[in-house]
Symmetry: C2
Subunit: 110 residues, 2 copies
């Protein structure tokens, strides 16, 4: 009754790679919540540094998770938005949030 073959394991590890690390999911979450500007996103994620946010955004743009648009100013405006592709990850994130909440109760009731 094996469900997953090596190919599926590969797909799983791909996903882990793409959304891995400490910040990518919170960033996706923030953008999906309507935050568009750099500082806005930054402020919505306590603890993140500009350096990390900058790096992650670039990577995520390369992976087509987000779209970056520059409005030539002045003032220059930059907006980030999640792609449809990224949004397809949204429900997974919601499930993870639910699970995280359960986890807290579960571990405490140890």
């Amino acid at each position: 009754m094996k469900r997953n073959q090596p190919e599926e394991l590969q797909a799983l590890q791909d996903t882990i790679y793409v959304i891995g690390g400490k910040w990518k999911l919170p960033i996706i979450n923030s953008i999906c919540n309507g935050n568009k500007r750099f500082r806005e996103i930054e402020r919505s994620i306590p603890g993140i540094t500009t350096r990390m946010l900058s790096r992650e955004l670039k990577e995520m743009e390369m992976n087509k998770l987000i779209k970056r648009t520059v409005y030539a100013g002045p003032p220059v405006l930059v907006e980030y938005e999640s792609t449809e592709y990224c949004k397809s990850f949204g429900k997974i994130i919601l499930a993870m949030i639910q699970w995280g909440k359960e986890h807290r109760k579960y571990i405490k009731s140890a």
Copy 2:
């Protein structure tokens, strides 16, 4: 239309923490697929070392994702199985696998 509050962000980061890293999801996946023995799990995940598997299994046991049972031998047998709690993560993993497959196509068609 904000969906997530800080508390939700916290839950998300909790989840990332618990199932984070390179190997925990593949391990969960392997065990959910019916692998029970240490070497069996090890062989099912190409690239993992005994050291990492050992460490991750311990952590996951502490977090009640898996249950470890020792059958006093000889030969001594050890079996790992996923808890119900862990299985509740199963559908999230399946979704991630699906997403990973799509990702491959999506990026290639760049």
